[in-house]
Amino acid sequence: MAASSKQTDPNKPAFSKRRALFLGKDSDSIIKTFFGSNAMVAIVILALITIFLFKEGAGFMGLYHKSLEEYRLSGLEYVDILKEKREDYTELTRYLNDVKSDWINELKASGSSQAEISKAIFNPEAKALFLGYMRAGSDLKKFVKTKMDVAIEIRDQHTTNENLRETVENYTQRIAEIQSTSYTFSKEDRAKYTLLLRDHSRDNSLPSEEAQRFLKEADSITPEKALDQADRETFAMLLGLEAEKIEATIKPVDFNTTIKGVIDEQARYAEILDALEVSLTEVVATADAVQFNSPAIEERIATFKELNQKFFSNIDAHKAKLANWDQSAPVSIFQAASAFLTGKDWVTASDQQDWYGLMPLLSGSLLISAIALVFAIPFGVGAAIYVNQIAGPAERNFIKPYVEFISAIPSVVIGFFGVVVFGEFIRWFSQLDGFQWVPFFPIQERLNAFTAGCLLALMAIPTIFTLAEDAINNIPRHFKEASLAMGATPLQTTMRVIVPTALSGIISAIMLGFGRVIGETMVVLLCAGNRIKIPDFTEGPGVFFEPVHTMTGIIAQEMGEVVQGSLHYRALFMVGIVLFFISLIINYTAQWVVKRFSKLGD
């Protein structure tokens, strides 16, 4: 190649012709083209991913809006209001049962024999209380169940109709296609056509010779036989007949009429509630007659009474809420958006209403990330400072590659370790007798936010460590020298000069570690416990040991089993979009921090 560039006209000076390697380009421009096109490909792929994500997610709001509208029109929303009271009552029943089992435990602890215990809990007063309370609500439960069934039926019928309409729509399109002259029969078409002809020939309303003709036609169709205009028309006609049959099965739902089946009997419901109040008051009053012989249990019974009073006093508000419910109130698209962004439930494949609320997933993701960062920041940044400033060369050469090696462990291996070793260890540890003074011990779940957070910390440490170490390493040596020359100790130099100067780099390292943590999927899927519920922050530190679900986890878990294009499918894409924006913001912030605060020297 070099030789070719020498072949210049001897009469001209050497600079008169550019050196060319390939297609008239020199090596510099070839390299430039190569890397430039690589960058271009990366940008295009990123753009395609973004477009795909948005395209798939885009339909979500519309579909969810429609779903919420149907929720209101079918009266399911009304039923959910009805259910509130039933839930309250169930909650109270559970509380009473709790008291009962505590009482039994206490009797056992005080050394009572089995017979004595039975005698105590089955004496008439106790029985009247515990059993009476449970029985009192049966009318309420029945009533709510009936109404719920009505509403579900309406909703189901409506959904079926929608599906049938879609099918009919598909038929219409198909027929239009077949009627165009350029249409050719495919193998499937021939099979379908034959089938339709045979079916039609069995139609009793047809004259027999006509039926015979159809049958003959059906028999004559072979894969080779050419089909003409007449065939296309017959095929279209037969398909049209089929579509008509399907259309006939649609039983239109008139929400205005059907709703009456749900919202009628309000007077009866009021009666049921009133009767419940009376009977519960009676039952609760019997509690005074029961000999609990335990101040703790009696205190709980007192609380129970208060809770009951609350339950009764809410009845009027509940009735008013039901009376004010309006089927025809419009659902705005913003309500759909806020139902997604601030919704507290993520319920899928439910027989009533599916809910796609981001909050349980977002709070789970953030809780786990917070736990991970609490561990990863001190370890990652601390190790970076230690390795760069304090450790000797031998230690440095040992620690650095090993910390960076952690990031080479596949996340599924870390997750596996978390399930089998770490989660077990935490539960075992929390059950040790010596640690029962810790308020939230023993923990019940082996897989929880804390387990996942600790393992994610392990994954974030190499990221934070490497980037923070780089940032510290980039601090010019003369800052350190200047500080030491003034009589500062190495520790003072590190804490007062090196770390403040490297702070922007350290913060961006932390941000990128955060990005790593919030986007991690495998570990959270395996170790976070996957319970879709907003963590109960009122529990104090116990909240860290609750199982949670995450945004990444839900996508990985549910994407495999959703119908493409369904509301659920699009909801998962919406979660992906939210995740995408969170990562984008994190990365952008990291870059901004570096730019804004790294005005180092010259």
């Binding site: 800052f479 003034m486 500062a488």
Partner: protein
Amino acid sequence: MAQTSTPITTSENSQPPIIEIRNFDFAYGDSQALFDINMDIKEKEVTAFIGPSGCGKSTFLRCFNRMNDLIDIARIKGGEIKISGVNIYDKDIDVIELRKHVGMVFQKSNPFPKSIYDNIAYGLRIQGVKKKSTLDDVVEECLRGAALWDEVKDRLNESALGMSGGQQQRLCIARALAVRPKILLMDEPCSALDPIATAKVEELIHELKKDYTIVIVTHNMQQAARVSDRTAFFYLGKLIEFENTDDIFMNPKNPQTEAYISGRFG
């Protein structure tokens, strides 16, 4: 090793030396950088080290406050450096205190990326001084001492990195003064400055001479001639000649010195 050659000293000054160097050998790993240096540096004088690049003058300077400790492969092969009669390479030496005693100004101005005020106050803060009034007083005193006060008194809380190069270097001198050293080492302090800024720093050195012993490394011979009382010429890690500045420039005894001064090599 302990052969005692007579230290090269200048004759007429009779006060005791503040820094005494005896048979000093220094090496980076296997390559020896300084050979058998003997020298006395007198109090409240300016001593200049000159010599071609790589002759070991900066290395030697950094031995006085043990900055070479930061380099893993640096080691003392023999001899001693005494400051105020104490061998600074003794194993009982508190290096932190030594560095407070022997301040240093570097070739490249290196203010911390903090405010002007915080730069000066740093030396005191690391010693645990928190009182605002004390800090204020010292900052003003040091900035006045470095002839910088009038230029920056209105922008003490602005970043030191916004100052000009000459101002930054004088700030570094002021910062070094804040810990009240007895000796001030300057490692080519003007090499990155323009002539006007250089003149200001030289003027400052002249002022500081009243209170501090100054050792300055320079490869600008005119500067050595202008600011120093005594000049030492180093070549290939050896001290060739150490004389009164006037003598060394007017009447060098060693032919190598003469060759260097007259610009025939280096």
